[in-house]
């Protein structure tokens, strides 16, 4: 990644994080932790790696994206808005009656969303089907999918993984957002994951692990995955739930947050102010 690309992706990440905080604070609640932990990977995908045309969202040559951990819809909507799919103003309508932005991605409503997700485990199967279909049509597009580490509790995820690995789907890159927390606590407390990367390797994936907040490393891992032949492709994002906002990183229950007390509101306002200052006139 050259310096200009890096600056572009970093700016997209900052704007995406800023808009996640703004929209959730605006509506007073929401899935902040898991939205923040995927900001960098989303920025790398939409800021550099993916081929798309926001003015022609159904372009038949586009790369496709599936947010299998659908509850992080606010993160996806922020990157889509900041990539030109729809106005950033629309983000503030999240979850309002009649909105085009429901909490969980809906391909019939959200411009730029390729598959409806929210019932955990299902998105990755659909992504596998999309990749299969593109390969059958001998198209050169990629499908990118993000699975949550909590989502790995779902059996269907492993059904999909064995399918993807069996077919060595080379046009699907599976990201696992290993932010180590789920709704009821840490993944260790709820259902131990042991070594996710080793599990993926054992399932037959070429697996890389990178820091979830490291834009350069994520980009390099994608390039390496694309160059790898003969196996299914997985990138484990070793991250932090609530990433990029120190208050949310340390907040114990940060899966879904209510913006109802002064401490949370102050911390959020501080984070928003910092990001606004960092972005400068471009925010």
């Amino acid at each position: 990644m050259n310096e200009m690309e890096m600056r572009k992706v970093q700016l997209l990440a900052d704007k995406t994080r800023l808009d996640v905080l703004r929209m959730l604070k605006h509506i007073g609640y929401g899935h902040v932790g898991g939205s923040l932990s995927i900001v960098e990977v989303l920025a790398v995908l939409y800021g550099k790696q993916m081929r798309y045309d926001p003015k022609n969202p159904n372009w038949s040559e586009r790369d496709m994206f599936v947010l299998s951990k659908g509850h992080s819809g606010p993160g996806l909507y922020s990157v889509l808005a900041n990539s030109g799919f729809f106005d950033r103003e629309e983000l503030l309508t999240l979850n309002a009656g009649g909105t085009n932005l429901p909490s969980h991605p809906d391909r019939l409503k959200v411009v730029g969303v390729d598959m409806t997700t929210g019932s955990l485990g299902q998105g990755i199967s659909a992504a596998a089907g999309m990749a299969t279909g593109l390969a059958m049509r001998k198209k050169d597009q990629y499908v990118y999918a993000i699975v949550g580490d909590g989502e790995l509790n779902e059996g269907q995820v492993w059904e999909a993984f064995q399918y993807i690995a069996h077919h060595a789907l080379h046009n699907l890159i599976v990201f696992i957002d290993a932010n180590k927390k789920q709704l009821d606590g840490t993944t260790d407390e709820v259902i131990k994951q042991f070594d996710i990367a080793k599990k993926m390797e054992a399932f037959g994936f070429y697996t890389q692990t990178v820091k979830g907040s490291d834009i350069e490393a994520i980009d390099q891992a994608i390039e390496k995955a694309k160059a790898y032949e003969g196996k299914a492709l997985c990138i484990v994002l070793d991250g932090i739930k609530g990433a990029g906002v120190p208050y949310f990183e340390t907040l114990k229950a940060n899966h879904s947050v209510k913006f109802t007390n002064d401490e949370i509101n102050q911390a959020t306002d501080d984070a928003i102010a910092k990001l606004e200052a960092k972005i400068g006139g471009a925010n």
């Binding site: 999309m130 299969t132 059904e159």
Partner: protein, 320 residues
């Protein structure tokens, strides 16, 4: 237009072969049709599709939930997937997948749920579904068909291959008795009046249409006139036909290889109540029971779904 072919007692072919041969033929001309199996390719005959069109056949292994998701994904690349599993695994086990990745996401998934109801036979209770119609019916805009014989099955497969959405096809894997003559055509969403009559309205679907006609013919000899409707499209249901044909009938009987809840019987009860039709309704089907093991013939008797059960019910209904 349809004509009957009840005189030909030799079944023409297995219903599964009607599905498989039709799909192979449809795939010959439509490059978008794909077939998916969950490790039952020998049981369903889908392995013949693999032989004919290996590039458009996918065996996902014993993973029905993933099969539905993969089908949904293929549909987003403009493919038209047909998937198979035994009825309970193609409906009950994957209900949320069909509901969300199928219906809610507005993808196209054609499901052949084989061996419905007592057709599970020796596979027994775990492999039995008396509730597949009730479940799939709850998916908005879904279409449900139950094939009476191979001619109708072939027509259903060809017709649904042209349409978008979640479609569920019930049907025995084995051969069933012939009802319709080769070349018969049907109308999706329209019931077929296969026998006219004046005393009783008998509404059914699937292979037990043959038993319904047996019963109606025997009763005719005893002076009881039974009108028989093949409601092969269980959803959308032909409400208008029911309201038209119930006029001047003494009783109405529904007869289904399914629970009396959530299938044909329930739907007819709703139609009668909502339209203030004052005709007694008798619902034949399964009531608060799980599947059992045995031959299909044994189970058809066990669940009181034979022609003689229909005769008994109608006579009781008419207080004869």
């Amino acid at each position: 237009m349809f004509t009957l072919d009840r005189e030909n007692k030799k079944p023409r072919r297995d219903l599964r072969m009607a599905v498989v041969e039709t799909l192979i033929d449809v795939m010959n001309t439509n490059p978008n049709v794909v077939a998916l199996e969950a490790d039952l390719g020998d049981a369903s005959g889908f392995n013949k599709i693999k032989a004919a069109h290996p590039e458009r056949f996918i065996n996902v292994g014993i993973a029905e939930a993933n099969m539905v998701g993969v089908a949904a994904g293929l549909s987003l690349i403009d493919y038209v997937p047909f998937i198979h599993s035994f009825g309970p695994f193609a409906s009950r086990r994957v209900f949320d997948q069909l509901f969300l990745s199928g219906g809610y996401a507005d993808t196209t998934i054609n499901v052949y749920g084989s061996d419905p109801g007592f057709n599970a036979g020796p596979n027994g209770g775990t492999h039995t579904t008396f509730e597949d119609v009730a479940l799939i019916k709850m998916i908005p805009n879904s279409i449900i068909c139950d094939a009476a014989d191979d001619v109708q099955m072939e027509w259903i497969v060809r017709e649904l291959a042209k349409l978008k959405g979640v479609h569920y096809i019930r049907g025995n894997r084995k051969a069933v008795r012939n009802v319709y003559a080769q070349g018969s055509t049907f109308n999706l969403g329209k019931g077929n009046v296969v026998k006219e009559g004046s005393d009783v309205l008998l509404i059914t679907a699937g292979q037990i249409l043959s038993d319904a006609l047996d019963a109606a013919e025997l009763l005719q000899e005893q002076g009881i006139s039974v009108e028989v409707i093949d409601m092969f499209t269980i959803k959308p249901f032909d409400t208008d036909l029911v309201l038209e044909k119930v006029k001047n009938k003494k009783v109405i009987v529904t007869f289904e290889n399914h629970s009396i809840y959530g299938g044909i019987g329930s739907t007819v009860a709703e139609i009668l109540a909502e339209n203030t039709v004052n005709v007694p309704l008798y619902r034949m089907g399964v009531d608060e029971r799980f599947g059992q093991v045995g031959s299909q013939e044994y189970l058809q008797k066990e669940f009181n779904l034979t022609a003689s059960d229909v005769i008994d019910t109608i006579k009781r209904a008419l207080s004869l």
